[in-house]
């Protein structure tokens, strides 16, 4: 097949990957906004794929409008991670509103998976709101958290409760980097629990938008006691996997 486009329509971003001859020919990520369909159409402008496969929460919306096929994010991430790292057996994907732990077979097929509960506790949206509560931009948040080895324990994972907890810590003059570190450790703990439920096997791949966060990656490596592989552009792994599912 000449050209296949994969679209991952997530809660926070939409990623598009065009695959030609089994290689990534083009990729782009943009915000989902309140008009995901419009964003998709703009992304697709000027492209004429033979096949368009959608994944992510908006996959059924895409299917109803322009996509030829749909696959779940779980399958898409398994294939996408396998493309970059054929030795991958365990995946942690932290996206805008979902965390998924996926166990993968040698060929990139899904063997087992676990997802977080309904709410966005411990996901990208959680980190975004906590960064805001500390007056930080998202990329500053992870960097600041890495500046201190000591952390302030955050016990709430509910976004609303954690925000109150952070407000209380700020009022007690606890250094911002310690609060930031505590929040990252809390997300890491939660992710570890999901990973343990599917079983942790080497190699572990960390993908999804949150994989760009250097602190979380370092904490995961420390907790797992092994290296964690991160794809070159972790946000497009789902879109890539969707495209690959058609080949």
């Amino acid at each position: 097949m000449n050209s296949v486009v994969g679209l991952d329509i997530g809660s926070r971003t939409i990623a598009m990957v065009e695959v030609r001859g089994g290689e990534i020919a083009f990729q782009e990520v943009r915000d989902t906004t309140h008009e995901p369909l419009q964003q998709c159409l703009e992304l697709l402008q000027g492209r004429e794929p033979e096949l368009l496969v959608a994944t992510g929460y908006g996959r059924h919306l895409a299917r109803a409008n322009f996509a030829h096929e749909v696959v779940t994010e779980i399958k898409a991430f398994a294939l996408g991670c396998h493309f970059f790292f054929p030795e991958c057996r365990t995946i942690l994907d932290i996206g805008g509103q979902d965390t998924k732990a996926i166990s993968v077979g040698p060929g990139g097929g899904v063997e087992d998976f676990q997802m977080n509960d309904r709410c966005a506790a411990g996901t990208g949206k959680f980190l975004e709101i906590m960064a805001m509560a500390l007056g930080l931009r998202l990329h500053e948040f992870g960097e600041l958290a890495m500046r201190t080895p000591s952390s302030q324990k955050i016990s709430s994972m509910c976004t609303v409760f954690a925000e109150s907890e952070v407000t209380g810590l700020i009022a007690r003059n606890v250094p911002r980097e310690e609060i930031a570190r505590g929040l990252h450790e809390a997300v890491c703990d939660r992710s570890m629990a999901l990973l343990k439920r599917v079983g942790i096997r080497r190699e572990v791949v960390f993908a999804g938008g949150v994989a760009k966060n250097p602190c979380l990656r370092a904490l995961l490596e420390e907790r797992l006691g092994m290296r964690v592989l991160v794809p070159p552009e972790p946000q497009v792994v789902g879109a890539l996997g969707a495209a690959l599912s058609a080949l």
Binding site: T72, E73, G109, D112, R118
Partner: protein, 384 residues
């Protein structure tokens, strides 16, 4: 009615059961609520009441949270909320069979905070299914019978009780036929429609439900056309087995259909567990015979049973219906089921049966997340 009209009607009832049940009182019936499939409906029916099942609703809670903690299941909380909000004023009372901790405490809270004319309690032995507990079970049923007799001011005649047993046995037989059809001819009667036809009977008098099921089965027998009652038609669907407590709404079955799968058999307590087994039609003591049926069924996880028993039971039923996987569909905070899940999941996987655990909360029901999980499970078992 055509078979298709019957399945449509039953689906409508499943989607709005209490709206339908409210009409029973307007028609002169005396609806009496129960919550659990261990309720001895034959006795309630023989006393002149129409037993109706309360199994929660998708709604926001306005009043119940003042009485039940957030870690109680949404079935108990939404049932209580409907009662406290006056939405169940068509009921004459409620019967509590004491199974799980939440249900036991709900009985007291209900009694103290509502003003329905009748309130019944039945204690179940912890070790259901063992001969040693049969006498106790029979005595509980006798005590319940006496409380109903005192309330209505007249004894329940033996012939009325025998007639009710016969009506309920007939109901279970007909529902069993619906289940058989759904397993063996899914192109004629799909899992969604078949289950709807059985579940709808939870909110109508069994005589009426029996006529409906007979009409349905005759209609389906007469027709060999595919899609006769909203069956699958077209490409074969991936057969699934589902187990758990209750399906308050048809969502799980509808999602399966959307994703080209079909729940061909189940172990829900509003489904197969409800229709399992028969009361011996003849014998000296009708209460003992009712007790024997309730004890002889596979236990609800709220009751003690040997660890391997449910694994073996489910594995056998999954294989018998040819399902490609098992979906455990559970209510959030349903401790008895959730307590068994890790062991069940591991053991069933050892048996080569793919298992998916789905948790549902009626208050924050997220169809999108359920769809992703179910679709990913189907991708895995289809190997595509």
């Amino acid at each position: 009615m055509e078979a298709r009209d019957i399945t449509d009607k039953c689906l409508d009832i499943w989607r709005d059961p209490y709206g339908f049940a409210r009409g029973l009182k307007e028609r002169g019936e005396r609806p009496l609520a129960y919550f659990c499939s261990y309720a001895p409906e034959e006795i309630m029916h023989a006393a002149g009441f129409t037993p109706v099942r309360l199994m929660g609703a998708t709604r926001n809670i306005a009043s119940a949270d003042a009485h039940l903690q957030a870690y109680c299941c949404a079935v108990a909380r939404t049932d209580l909320d409907m009662a406290l909000e006056g939405e169940l004023d068509w009921l004459e009372g409620a019967v509590f069979v004491q199974t799980c901790d939440t249900m036991m405490r709900l009985s007291d809270i209900w009694r103290l905070n509502t003003s329905f004319p009748f309130h019944g309690d039945i204690s179940l032995p912890v070790r259901m299914g063992e001969p040693v507990s049969l006498d106790y079970m029979r005595e509980e049923l006798a005590s319940f019978r006496r409380s109903l007799e005192a309330y209505r001011g007249a004894p329940i005649a033996r012939e009325d009780l025998e007639r009710s047993i016969e009506t309920y046995n007939r109901n279970r037989r007909l529902a069993g036929e619906v289940y058989r059809l759904r397993r063996e001819r899914p192109e004629v009667l799909g899992g969604l429609e078949g289950t709807a036809c059985v579940v709808a009977g939870l909110w109508m008098r069994k005589e009426e439900h029996n006529s409906l099921l007979e009409e349905l089965l005759e209609g389906l027998d007469a027709s060999d056309a595919s899609d006769a009652a909203g069956g699958a038609g077209g490409d074969p669907l991936t057969p699934l087995f589902a187990a758990g407590s209750v399906c308050t709404t048809p969502d799980l079955f509808e999602l399966a259909r959307e994703l080209r799968a079909d729940i061909v058999d189940d172990d829900f307590c509003c489904g197969h567990r409800y229709i399992e087994g028969q009361v011996e039609p003849e014998g000296d003591d009708p209460l003992e015979r009712i007790a024997e049926r309730l004890s002889g069924r596979i236990n609800c996880p709220a009751k003690h049973s040997a660890a391997e028993e449910r694994t073996a039971y489910l594995a056998e039923r999954v294989r018998a219906c040819g399902a490609a996987g098992l979906v455990l569909f559970l209510q959030d905070f349903c401790e008895p089921w959730l307590f068994e899940v890790p062991f069940l999941k591991e053991r069933l996987r050892d048996e080569g049966i793919p298992v998916l655990v789905l948790e549902s909360d009626l208050q924050s029901f997220s169809r999108g997340q359920l769809r992703t999980r179910l679709q990913a499970f189907l991708e895995t078992i289809r190997g595509v």
